[in-house]
Amino acid sequence: MIRRDGLLPRLGYGAAGLGGLLLLMEAVPRLGLVDERFLPPASEILATLAAQLGTAELWIALGETLRGWAIGLALAFCAAVVAGVVIGIVPGLRALTSSTVEFLRPIPSVALVPLATLLFGPSLGSTLLLVVYASFWQVLIQVLYGVAAVDSVAFDTARSYRLSAWSRVRHLVWPTALPYVMTGLRLAAAVAFILAVTAELVIGSPGLGAEIQVAQSSGAVPSVYALIVLAGLVGIAVNAAVRLLERRVLAWHPAVRSEVAA
């Protein structure tokens, strides 16, 4: 049997996709579809980015952002998984919490800025509050749906062999929910990153967002886009990492199975 798409061809396709995007970003301003002053061509953005990558400041800022991101994401993920599984399997709890969950979910993190500054000021704490608040729901909803996806025959099997609640969670509920959770993780990773940047942008705690804010209010358009591109690149890297993780933990899943062996 032949593997149809190995890792390398896959990278090739990805590179082709990104190349296409770059071409588009180069062409749009060059052809005058939008003014070059407001959307510089890709080459200029990349040059600016390259120049900035040479400065320590940028790396420090990126490090700050990633720290807030990582801590916030980890907190939100763990909390949401625990909460989701508990709500999902304890009967009645779902009905009890659903109205509150649905009420709290659409409250934008940015609206919590006053509360965050009140509690923590422009520090990591504020960033964390916003990051955790926003990404928590992403994972929670995915976990809730994932828990609901447990196959009834498999569930009956677990019951008839009298698996304890913990075993059921570990051996049945969790693996079933895992594909949903992985999607949740991917969603939350991006949202956490976005919120980390936004929090810095709005509250002014140091990091990539603060850099963007300063660049924006200085009218340094190429810098702004360079930073945005950097944010995007971080997103690609994070997604690649999650995909890798997924390949390991979901090797048994039909979606991943068909990907590995053609």
């Binding site: 196959d151 498999a154 075993s167």
Partner: protein
Amino acid sequence: MLEIHDLRKVYESPGRRVEAIGSITLSVGAGELVCVVGPSGCGKTTLLRCVAGLLPVSGGEVRVDGRRVTGPPPSMAVVFQEYGRSLFPWMTVRQNVELPLKEKRLPADRRRDLVAGSLRAVGLSDAADAHPWQLSGGMQQRVAIARAVAYEPQVLLMDEPFAAVDAQTRADLEDLILRLWRSFEITTLFVTHDIDEAVYLGRRVVVLSSSPTTVMEDLKIDLPAERDQLTTRSLPRFGELRGHVYRQIQRARGHSEDR
């Protein structure tokens, strides 16, 4: 050991109401092996699920070991008709079989022995490290059987457990069940479509009518206790019993078509 009294079950869903079980009264003594046969869709699976405490009954009651069943009773193992869905795809065959044993907190070496023994008994020693979806239908079914066997239950419920295996394997598995049943006196309720199998295995064969289901006949199988694929099956009495059950099922089905 197993008492089923006036069990009734109605499935109700919007736009469809199925009276799956009209009324079943039945008891299985400790260490008895009872086979259940009946036309397709008559409620055998439903009966088994009610006994296993997996399905709330609509009326009547089920008692296992004197206690009324509200949830799955301890040390009962079930082999589901949907064997494929009852295996966890994220675990290997070995892990699937071992999981309930871990739950019983058996020591590791005992677990290893039980798993290896039961997989050998169903002829799957080679496939221990495969995942269920890498196996053929019959192999999956045998994994489910191995899991039940390794569990060393006191009560064993099996729902057409040999439907997906070839004749020879089926005979081997039948003898495996007989052997286990004899050595450990496992109370067994065995649903099958194969009348020969029912007569060969059962001390009693219960024939269900088609729905709304009742017990149409509760037949004592007066064959010698020691059974053997060749000799038992060639006894004239075997042929008689077989023919009798066959006619009963035909009656059961006819009965449904009269409705």
